[in-house]
Assembly symmetry: C2
Homo-oligomer: 116 residues x 2
């Protein structure tokens, strides 16, 4: 059993092409012994966004703080906020954006992409 | 993309043998189209506990509210609280208990056990 203090985990800039003003903390990942499931905490600063992209694995998401915009595969925008959970299917195009004035934070759980 | 309001999801009693005063909400599961990863929200009432057991899949956990006790495979007790994340390995014996006066709440992510 591994127990981590989330505050002690440093958040790194997400360097992926198309990402802007996004930071990520790996709360539980490979280095904790978790080979199948990764739990990441994302922080999108005001004005920031993730890429509008797709991949062969899903996202299981829970909004942790404030609000943001989730863009679906049809380009439709959905305002999402703390108290909501989301599922993005494998292969489904998606983006998360923060046009608001406070940080948009969520956890995003994925299967180990290296196993897909 | 599926978006759910966590408050609208009803919490059911966990009937598993050895569980006492435990409720569970499926935040994201099979009925949301998530075939590989299930995100559950557990609420253990004061005095309640999950079974001290093991299974062939892991737990990825994030404490959501208040505090509780996590018992590891050696029977050692660890007080855990909001702001902490846990990983329980496949096959590792574990239990969650709430000897405190407020509800102990956490999310617990698992792979679809039917695929193991």
């Amino acid at each position: 059993m591994k127990i981590r203090n989330n505050e002690e985990i440093s958040a790194g800039d997400v360097k992926m092409e198309g990402a802007s003003e996004v930071k990520m903390k790996m709360l539980i990942g490979l280095s904790d012994g978790s080979e199948n499931i990764f739990m990441r905490h994302f922080i999108i600063a005001p004005g920031g966004n993730t890429p509008y992209h797709q991949h062969n694995y899903e996202h299981v998401i829970k909004v942790e703080k404030n609000r943001g915009i989730a863009v679906d595969e049809n380009g439709n925008e959905h305002e999402v906020k703390k108290g909501q959970s989301l599922f993005v299917r494998p292969g489904e195009k998606h983006q998360f954006r923060n046009p608001f004035s406070e940080e948009f934070e969520f956890i995003c759980i994925i299967p180990n992409p290296g196993q897909k």
